[in-house]
């Protein structure tokens, strides 16, 4: 125990080790925070949720803090839900079965760029009859300077989603609503631009101020009701941005930490300990046992680890725990055996081992109680240095598209980004966020590992 304390005190003498330990502590903190804040099932739902979970996030948006470094403020997403009490909803009885429902959404728009998409999600309620008479809505847009632009009118199907940007009828008549003094190219005649245009501007700029969307609906069934959600998709989102499925990258960035730490730690522990025990057994028994172990190690060196993992991932299962088991299994007879063997050969000759043998200690007692503990100081630095290499192994597999099918990991984000052509499309945040996290993790563990190596192997320290 005092030795452990001494080691820690010595570690503090290396600045790189202190930085490394801070990084590791930070990662552990993130991992714990992630697991508590977003429990496993919630994380899976948020990451693999499919339709409905990510509807209100903008697609492929960089993080919101981009705005801090840019003078032109890019828009953030504005979500208004009538069911939540946003906007104003007025219900007027027309007859026994018919109602007039008016939903008025007003919002401030103070950005220097146009939104990326405009969508209205309708949630009409109908009585549970065979084919209810559908309600009817018409939408009107009112700009801050008081211009009124009629959008469209239609019947409400049970799950109606009105994409303004894809409404061809609207796009065709948009040219009438371009304010005076503004010239637009034909391909610029899109709703998310024209509806926000400020008049008398050389370059198209959004008009800042209070916009209003009025939804006038009429229902034709007694129990019918209308609720709507208006989303003006921004160009930035959250702390981490979103990917091509509109997923919030934050979920995966947070959850990547516990997954990476668990995988790296378990794999490093599993491989070093098994390798060491096998080396100890081989050196102690010597002869045929040692020979067999040596030969297996040599065969194992020629076994291609990553290709075998790839093969298993493609043919059977790509669960992260199967991969973990396989990595440990294939590394039991790793090249580390040769290093440990050299040390054990020395230990085997020491006099305290001879003493143990003299009092009649069993083979296993000598191996596990007298030999193995002696090598642990040498083992710890190697283990710490191995952790990042396994973290990166997981990332490598994920990069090849063989990541765990359910868990969100850093490697999988990089893979998604690569498949989505993020580097070519200049969506650098998508690659850089997970990459920097991986890099920091790697550096943290290696810095501590190298410092430990110098502490435990004094011969290195002189150099």
């Amino acid at each position: 125990m005092s030795r452990l304390k001494g080691t820690f005190q010595e570690l503090f003498r290396y600045p790189s080790a202190v930085i490394g330990m801070l990084i590791i502590l930070g990662l552990i903190f993130i991992a714990i925070y992630a697991v508590i804040r977003i429990p496993y099932h919630e994380a899976i739902r948020l990451w693999r949720g499919g339709e409905g979970v990510w509807d209100e996030y903008p697609r492929l948006s960089p993080p919101a803090w981009y705005n801090w470094f840019s003078r032109r403020k890019a828009p953030e997403t504005i979500v208004l839900k009538s069911a939540r009490g946003d906007g104003e909803k007025v219900v007027e009885e027309l007859s026994e079965i018919s109602k007039a429902i008016t939903i008025t959404f007003t919002f401030e728009y103070r950005y220097d760029e146009f939104p990326s998409e405009l969508v209205v999600f309708f949630k009409p309620t109908y009585p549970p009859v065979e084919s209810p008479r559908q309600s009817f809505v018409s939408l009107t847009w009112i700009t801050p300077d008081g211009r009124e632009i009629p959008l469209n009118k239609f019947n409400l199907r049970p799950r109606e989603v009105y994409h303004l940007s894809q409404d061809n009828a609207l796009i065709r008549k948009l040219v009438k609503y371009v304010p005076e003094g503004v010239t637009l190219h034909e391909q610029e005649l899109i709703p998310e631009k024209v509806l926000f245009l400020a008049p008398q501007k050389e370059t198209p700029t959004p008009l800042k101020g209070e916009y209003t969307l009025v939804i006038r609906g009429t229902t034709f069934e007694a129990a019918a009701d209308i609720d709507a959600t208006f989303v003006s998709y921004g160009k930035l989102y959250g702390w981490a941005g979103t990917d091509h499925y509109r997923r919030d990258l934050m979920v995966a960035l947070l959850w990547g930490a516990p997954v990476a730490l668990a995988f790296g730690l378990l794999a490093a522990l599993g491989t070093t300990i098994t390798t060491m025990v096998i080396a100890a057994i081989g050196t102690w028994f010597g002869g045929a046992v040692d020979g067999v172990i040596q030969r297996i190690t040599e065969v194992n060196m020629v076994l291609p680890l990553l290709p075998i993992l790839i093969m298993v991932g493609t043919l059977y299962q790509r669960s992260i725990w199967v991969m973990l088991g396989l990595v440990i299994l294939l590394s039991i007879f790793g090249s580390g055996i040769k290093t440990y063997r050299a040390v054990f050969l020395q230990i085997k000759e020491s006099s305290y081992i001879e003493a143990a043998r003299a009092y009649g200690a069993s083979n296993w007692r000598i191996i596990f109680v007298y030999m193995v503990p002696r090598i642990i100081p040498m083992l710890i630095p190697q283990m710490v240095v191995l952790i990042p290499s396994y973290v990166f192994l997981e990332a490598s597999l994920a990069y090849l598209g063989l990541g765990d099918p359910t868990l969100p990991t850093w490697g999988k984000i990089i893979n998604d980004a690569n498949v989505g052509g993020a580097l070519n499309n200049r969506q650098y945040y998508w690659v850089l966020e997970p990459a920097i996290l991986l890099m920091i993790t790697g550096l943290g563990f290696t810095m501590v590992g190298y410092a430990l190596d110098r502490i435990f192997n004094p011969r290195l320290r002189e150099m």
């Binding site: 790189s16 040596q294 040599e298 065969v299 060196m301 020629v302 076994l303 291609p304 680890l305 990553l306 290709p307 075998i308 790839i310 093969m311 298993v312 991932g313 493609t314 043919l315 059977y316 090249s335 990042p388 290499s389 990166f392 990332a395 490598s396 990069y399 090849l400 598209g401 063989l402 990089i414 690569n418 580097l423 070519n424 200049r426 650098y428 690659v431 850089l432 990459a435 991986l438 890099m439 790697g442 550096l443 563990f445 290696t446 810095m447 190298y450 011969r459 290195l460 150099m463």
Partner: protein, 381 residues
């Protein structure tokens, strides 16, 4: 390797003075050693390929591949036969079924798995790797062997360039640093050594981002420009331009740490008594380095280099994928995407071979530079 041979040349006059036989002795020693190593490595390859086959066939995938191939071949033969085509469907199906059974028997698919696995082993070892399911070689062939052979040169170009560069660069810089121990660059290398935490492909992403994405001065990936330049010189230049990023990615990830390791190693050896003695005699430092430091450390350097190389083969798969390098690694990636099982299994076998060849080459170099290596001891070390 030139440094190794130059060391050997430097030592030659000393030995030749005594008699001519040591030269022949060396030759005999090395050839005997080589033969033993080849036999041993072949056994190793056989075992590792056999393990690959066992893993691949755990769910009967290789069997399925074979059956699929038989069915396809039989169907092709029947469709190509005008007499068969005129037969009624039932009759034709019956004949087809019979032919499939005969073929199954011929290939031994009705035998127990153990016998069959030996059969697969023979096929794999003789590189009789079957036909792919979806992928084709550039010449249009579906033979897995041709697909792989077509990709092999590009992989070797990238791998050989980067590793030779890594080796010589590290040894020379490490020697230089061990001379100026404690200098700024020495400390810099120590500070940079944790960069080895990340594999080469990972730095590749950053390099692409900076040099291809932001600056636009180097290509995003690929091996040569498209269309390929007509003259050999332009071709070589274009190849060089495409090599810069992947090679530097690898150097960034492994360079600093290998310089650091070797520097430490040289420092340890240069504090030996015989080095002090040589210094006291007033020998020039170049000679001390060559004869007294490099010579005894070379075997260890080669061993550690061998281990690095073995690890790098795995990393090369992804490095190629990141840089769109048309080699075996990217082929792997494409095969995974298409779930082309024969190609994936064959690639695993090829990688086992490549690893074994790497081990062998390094063993050979090891025998050349270390006079202590004899067959008996060589096998043990």
């Amino acid at each position: 390797m030139s440094s190794a041979s130059s060391v050997a040349v430097g030592e030659q006059p000393l030995t030749r003075v005594k008699a001519r036989s040591p030269w022949l002795e060396t030759l005999r020693r090395i050839s005997l050693y080589t033969v033993v190593r080849v036999i041993f490595l072949f056994i190793t390859v056989v075992i590792s390929v056999y393990l690959t086959i066992l893993i691949a066939n755990m769910g009967g995938y290789v069997d399925k591949m074979q059956e699929g191939e038989i069915a396809e071949r039989v169907a092709m033969r029947i469709m190509a036969d005008p007499v068969m085509r005129q037969l009624p469907v039932e009759k034709r199906n019956q004949i087809m079924e019979e032919m499939v059974q005969v073929e199954r028997k011929r290939l031994g698919l009705d035998t127990p798995f153990f016998v069959r696995s030996l059969l697969y082993l023979r096929n794999a070892l003789t590189l009789n790797l079957g036909h792919s399911q979806k992928m084709t070689s550039d010449s249009g062939s579906r033979q897995v062997r041709l697909i792989l052979l077509e990709r092999l040169p590009s992989t070797l170009v990238l791998f050989a360039t980067s590793n030779l560069l890594l080796f010589f660069m590290s040894v020379f810089i490490a020697l230089m640093l061990s001379r100026t121990y404690g200098s700024f660059f020495d400390r810099l290398i120590i500070a940079l050594s944790p960069t080895s935490a990340a594999p080469g492909w990972f730095y590749g992403i950053f390099l692409i981002l900076i040099f291809a994405g932001l600056l636009g001065i180097l290509p995003f990936g690929g091996m040569v420009d498209a269309p390929p330049p007509p003259t050999p010189l332009e071709y070589a230049l274009s190849l060089l331009k495409h090599l810069i990023l992947p090679v530097s990615a690898l150097l960034i990830s492994t360079g600093a740490v290998s310089i650091y390791n070797w520097r430490t190693f040289f420092l340890i050896y240069s504090s030996e008594d015989y080095v002090e003695m040589a210094k006291a005699k007033g020998l020039p430092s170049r000679m001390i380095e060559r004869r007294y430091i490099l010579r005894p450390t070379m075997p260890t350097i080669v061993t550690s280099f061998a281990l690095t190389l073995l690890n790098l083969w795995g990393g090369a798969i992804i490095l190629e994928t990141v840089f769109n390098w048309p080699g075996l690694g990217r082929l792997y990636y494409q095969a995974i995407g298409l779930v082309d099982t024969p190609v994936i299994v064959a690639e695993t076998v090829i990688y086992a071979y490549l690893l074994a060849i790497t081990v062998f080459m390094l063993d050979f170099v090891y025998a050349l530079i270390d006079p202590r290596v004899k067959v008996g001891e060589g096998a043990k070390q």
